[in-house]
Amino acid sequence: MPVIACHDCDLLTQLPARAGATLLCPRCGAVLQRHRPNSIDRPVAFALSGLVLFAVTLTNPFLAMRSGSFIQEARLLTGIIELWKQDLYILGGLVLLTCIIIPAIQLTGLLYVLVPIRLGVRAPGAIHVFRAIRHLNAWAMMEVFLIGILVALVKLAKMATIIPGIAVLSLGLLTIVVTAAMTTLDPPFIWRKLDPRP
C-alpha cells in the first residue's frame, strides 16, 4: 500500500487503491493529491500557446497615452528600459524577472520536461529543470501585474487618454494560459516518470 506524508503537517496517509478525485489530509486539510486527466497533453498545449502569446505581447504596443496632440506609445520592454534609464535597476529588474523572465523560463522548461516524456524519452537534467519550475512558481506574478495596469489606468484617466494596446489583451490571455499550464500539471505523475532510479 503506497503511503504519503502531508507536506503541511507530516501525517502519514495511505493512498486509496484507485485514484479518486481529490485526497485531503485528514488532520490539517491540505490537498495531498488531485487527479489530473491528460496531465501531459494539456500543459503542453497551454505552454505552446503561451509561447505564441509571449511573442505577441513583446512585439506589440502595450499602452499609448494621448494628451492633446501629444501621443506616447510604450511597449512592455521599452517601459522596463525606461526604468533602467532612470537608474531604477531594482524596480526594473523586479518587473522584468517576475513578469517576463520567470514565466518564460517556466513555459520553456515545461516543454523541455513534458515533450520528451510524451515521446517516451527522458531529456538530460529534466528532473532539475522540473524542480526549478516548481520553485519559481511563487515568483511569477503576471496576474498581479495585470491588476497593477488596471489601477494605473484609473490613476492616469484624469491626466490623459490612455489607449490599451494589443499587448495588454495578450498579456491577460497569457496569464490565464500560464496558470492553466501549471494547474493541469500532475507533479506526482511527472516525478514518477522522471525517477532516475532503476
Binding site: 501525517l11 502519514l12 486539510g29 525606461e82 523586479l94 518587473v95 528532473i127 511563487a138 489601477v151
Partner: protein
C-alpha cells in the same frame, strides 16, 4: 483512505521537500543527504526554520516603516511638484470617487503586509511557546499568508507603469520615490519568510505530547 495516526518523522521517515518522496532516514548517507529521486537536499524539517523566519520578518518590519513614510511617487505637473505616499494615494482615490481602486490599494499595500507580519509572528511565538491551541486553524493561517503575499506587489507595479508611461516632456512626469524600493523589499522579504517557515513544526509539539 486510511490515515496512520502518526507523522513520518516519528517513524524515521523523511519526506523530500521538492518531490515528496518518502525516504527511510537510515537509507541516506550522512555526508550526502540528497533525495535519491530528484536530488534536492533532505531534512526532516526546513533547516533553522524559526531563526530564519524571525530574521526575515524583522528585516521586513524595519523596511515597512520607510515604505509607508517616504513618498512612493513624485509627480511634476506644469512646474508643481507633488509627492505621494501609499496612504495619500489611497486617500486620493477615495476623494476622486474610485473607492474600488482605493480598496484594492489599501488591502494590497497596507492591510495584507501587516496581517502577514502579524500572522507569522503569531505562528512563531505559538510554536516557540509549544502551544497546542488549534493546530489545524494555525496551519490554515499559514496557507493564507503563503497565498496572499504576492498581491502586495500591486502598488510596486502601478508605480513602475506610471513611471515608464508618463514622460510628457515639460508638461508632466512621474518619478518613483524611495518608498517603492523599500516596499518591494517588504513584499519579497515577507514572501521569503513565509517560505522558510515549516508548518510541520506546529504539529510536532502535539505529537511530542502524545508520546509522553
Amino acid at each position: 483512505m486510511k490515515s496512520l495516526p502518526t507523522s513520518a518523522k516519528s517513524l524515521g521517515l523523511l519526506q523530500c521537500h521538492d518531490c515528496h518522496l518518502l525516504i527511510r532516514s537510515e537509507d541516506i548517507p550522512a555526508h550526502h543527504a540528497h533525495c535519491p529521486r530528484c536530488g534536492a537536499p533532505l531534512h526532516f524539517r526546513k533547516p533553522d526554520s524559526i531563526a530564519r523566519t524571525w530574521a526575515l520578518l524583522l528585516a521586513a518590519s524595519i523596511m515597512y516603516i520607510p515604505a509607508n513614510l517616504l513618498p512612493m511617487t513624485v509627480t511634476t505637473a506644469v512646474g508643481a511638484v507633488q509627492t505621494d505616499t501609499i496612504m495619500s494615494g489611497v486617500i486620493y482615490f477615495i476623494h476622486s470617487g474610485s473607492w474600488e481602486i482605493a480598496a484594492v490599494i489599501f488591502i494590497a499595500s497596507i492591510f495584507v503586509p501587516l496581517v502577514k507580519l502579524a500572522i507569522l509572528v503569531f505562528l512563531l511565538v505559538s510554536v516557540q511557546r509549544r502551544s497546542k491551541w488549534r493546530p489545524r486553524d494555525r496551519t490554515v493561517l499559514y496557507r493564507i499568508t503563503e497565498l496572499v503575499g504576492r498581491w502586495s506587489m500591486v502598488d510596486v507595479y502601478v508605480v513602475t507603469i506610471l513611471v515608464a508611461l508618463v514622460k510628457l516632456g515639460a508638461v508632466a512626469s512621474i518619478e518613483a520615490g524611495p518608498a517603492a524600493v523599500y516596499f518591494a523589499s517588504v513584499v519579497v522579504l515577507t514572501m521569503l519568510a513565509a517560505e522558510s517557515f515549516d508548518p510541520r513544526i506546529i504539529w510536532d509539539v502535539i505529537e511530542d505530547h502524545h508520546d509522553r
